[in-house]
Symmetry: C2
Subunit: 407 residues, 2 copies
DNA sequence: GGTTTTTGTTTATAATTAAATTTAATTAAG
DNA sequence: CTTAATTAAATTTAATTATAAACAAAAACC
């Protein structure tokens, strides 16, 4: 145990209480000092002192008086969210999504920039910088209010260095995002894997608020997992945790681009579903999708399959259900290993959730070993395709609201 | 986040520092106050005050003076381990192992009691009680010094209730171990799953001391995992984490007693290895093991296979290597999910590690996706078959040395 | 209008850590 | 052999912070 031991100190004590109060305000705003004291079990003076400091930093403000229930009217406190803005990016395989929000994640502006076919590290970094400049200088935005930039990136990310180690869908290696952005914009920059930002977004603004141990599954071109344990994002030793897409569930199964056999990704990812449908069509099966794709197999992708399924096509419905079945196998393995209270499914597939999720739930309840495992709550992210970029914003909020930060 | 928020308070501060000092003494004994202050970055008076309290409780004592390096000789402090004893039990499928040790896990006495073929909850509890009485009243033992009983149990355990929920190898359900033992012996009783106690033992006394995020794999009749994250045992939401034995790695593979197909356990557990060998023999393959088993297939078990392999038998060697291969698949999946710094393999199979572990390592380095994953350290527990029962002792030490406890 | 309730502040106190000082013991240098 | 320097431990004093209790102000209720 070569731990960096945490010693009990005055600073720690104060910093714990400050972040405690700040987080209570964030979650329960508007709220009075007295209410905070009651909820946190801190004494009123302690709350008053720390609130005074927080007011000075400007991160919270006093609002109008609230309604009394038989006594002095409470002075309500809220985050001064409007005065602090955060930029979030989602660097996907086809485009870069940029948003700017308040501290409460109220969307102020959203833009999208396509990534050209042929790209290299420098061009991508340039594109990222341009996209940030573009949203920063929008008319409605006061640039001085921006406090940080969070970046979500698919593939393997080293969040400490702030580097994209490998982005398979762009086929790029070692992109020093954090270093470059910090130099360009001179503010906090955080970089994280997309599945992990997704779960952070859920933790701060989504379904995760009711639970503190859950897993987010990001199903799209790949399949990634973001693991939250005790209200904290779990990274693992070298930040490669959550690579559920390459969980081998059929060692004698089909070959995966990664070189192994029977990876979950070869069954349940968007491209895998499309490939399966194409194969059936080539074998002579017929489906509504042929019409939708104008009889061009190359035009078939997961979205089109979803459209066809929605229109009642049996072949496509079955394909999606089967993807759900295999995803359920993978999730059962995950449940048996880390036993989360909740699993939240998001990413591209969440559009087609009505067809997929039943298969997932059914498989888990069939294959899991114990009652509690069978009953693991499996839900769909309510943020849909934006889950990742919202998580990117949350990356910065963690910095701001966490214990160490002095606001 | 419905967390029980921890407020910063004087008690917390002091309790953190006390446990910090206690743990430093445990790990570095003998050690002087000045040295503690240097290591912990606490100030000398803080250390002196807390050491005074700890001396009063009797848990530590002042030893002879140490060597000076040019100044006043330091007063060395050590745990008063000899004055506090802990009982550890390992309730396996065939027998109950009981040990009694000092706080430093120095073995004082060890006993073993066979579990009869037909058993029920009451009989098992009686047997457990008798075994504890037996070791308690040994001549060498001063009963007054015993402070707690730790119990390791295979299968699904609810550590909060202190109950064995399901013990597959004994086919027993809902055994209220903690309640019964606390009533009988009136001291701290902790009950935990065997793989998890194993990893706790490694954390406190074994290989885990150099790392704070690792996984212990207990391979025997079943396969279980104990996960340690940031120096803490990980339980998951309903304490069923670590059920790696039923990770499905071949969905179209052989049926497992659990009802699913292709569980890791059907490839790499002791019984599975034996079954595989028997099958080959029935098909007419020949092996040295026929001689060792006196041509009685029923006598073939994992241990005998290991003996044969050690004598150079090819069939048995291959069988063990193949078990290692599949275990490697399971561990690769685990590495991709939770990315531990280290994997420690123990349990029955650790006897045959020379044949198994190479297969495991080779598979992981072939199948893992990144360099760091490939290089995950995979080692054998140095405690061998005793790893579990040592962990049972550690269960009590956690209580004693953890932050909340006032010793 | 008086009483009660609620909110928030002030004042004083207690529990700690933090810093500076003192005492003691030992070694090394002169 | 003496003295200075060094290290260890204990003690004193100061600073920091939470806590407790008292208090003031405002509103609601009777």
């Amino acid at each position: 145990m070569t731990t960096k031991w945490q010693t009990g100190s005055f600073q720690l004590m104060k910093s714990m209480n400050r972040s405690l109060i700040l987080n209570i305000i964030r979650q329960k705003e508007p709220i009075s000092r007295a209410e905070i004291a009651k909820l946190t079990k801190l004494t009123p003076p302690t709350v008053s002192n720390l609130v005074k400091e927080l007011l000075q930093t400007g991160i919270i403000i006093e609002r109008t008086l609230g309604e009394s229930s038989g006594g002095r009217k409470p002075t309500l406190l809220t985050l001064n969210g409007e005065n602090f803005h955060v930029i979030g990016l989602d660097v996907g395989s086809k485009d870069i999504k940029v948003i700017i929000t308040t501290l409460s994640c109220k969307l102020l502006k959203k833009k999208c920039f396509p990534i050209p076919e042929s790209i290299n590290n420098d061009k991508l970094l340039e594109l990222i910088i341009d996209s940030i400049h573009s949203i920063k200088s929008s008319e409605e935005i006061d640039e001085k209010k921006i406090i940080g930039i969070g970046v979500a990136m698919h593939g393997i990310v080293d969040p400490e260095k702030g580097e994209s180690v490998f982005a398979p869908n762009l086929n790029l290696h070692h992109i020093p995002i954090k270093a470059v952005l910090e130099k360009e914009f001179d503010m906090i920059v955080k970089v994280e894997n997309d599945a992990r930002t997704m779960s952070l977004g859920e933790l701060w603004f989504g379904n995760g608020m009711s639970s503190e141990s859950f897993v987010c599954i990001n199903v799209g071109r790949g399949i990634g997992a973001g693991i939250v344990i005790n209200g904290k994002l779990f990274h693992g030793n070298h930040s490669i945790s959550g690579e559920i897409g390459h969980m081998m569930i059929d060692v004698n199964g089909p070959k995966c681009p990664c070189g192994n056999y029977g990876c979950l990704q070869t069954f349940s990812s968007g491209p895998a579903i499309a490939e399966g449908v194409k194969k059936l069509l080539r074998l002579g099966h017929s489906s509504l999708i042929e019409e939708l794709a104008e009889n061009n197999l190359d035009k078939i992708n997961a979205e089109l399959i979803y459209d066809a399924a929605k229109k009642g096509d049996q072949l496509c419905t079955t394909a999606l259900q089967q993807a759900g079945y295999y995803l359920g196998i993978g999730l059962t393995n995950l449940i048996h290993l880390i036993n989360p209270a909740q699993i939240i499914i998001g990413g591209g597939v969440s559009n087609a959730h009505e067809f997929v999720i039943e298969g997932v739930r059914k498989t888990v309840s069939q294959k899991a070993l114990t009652e509690s495992a069978k009953n693991t709550e499996i839900i769909i992210s309510k943020f849909g395709a934006d889950a990742t970029v919202i998580g990117a914003v949350a990356l910065i909020l963690v910095e701001l609201f966490s214990s160490k930060s002095a606001a």
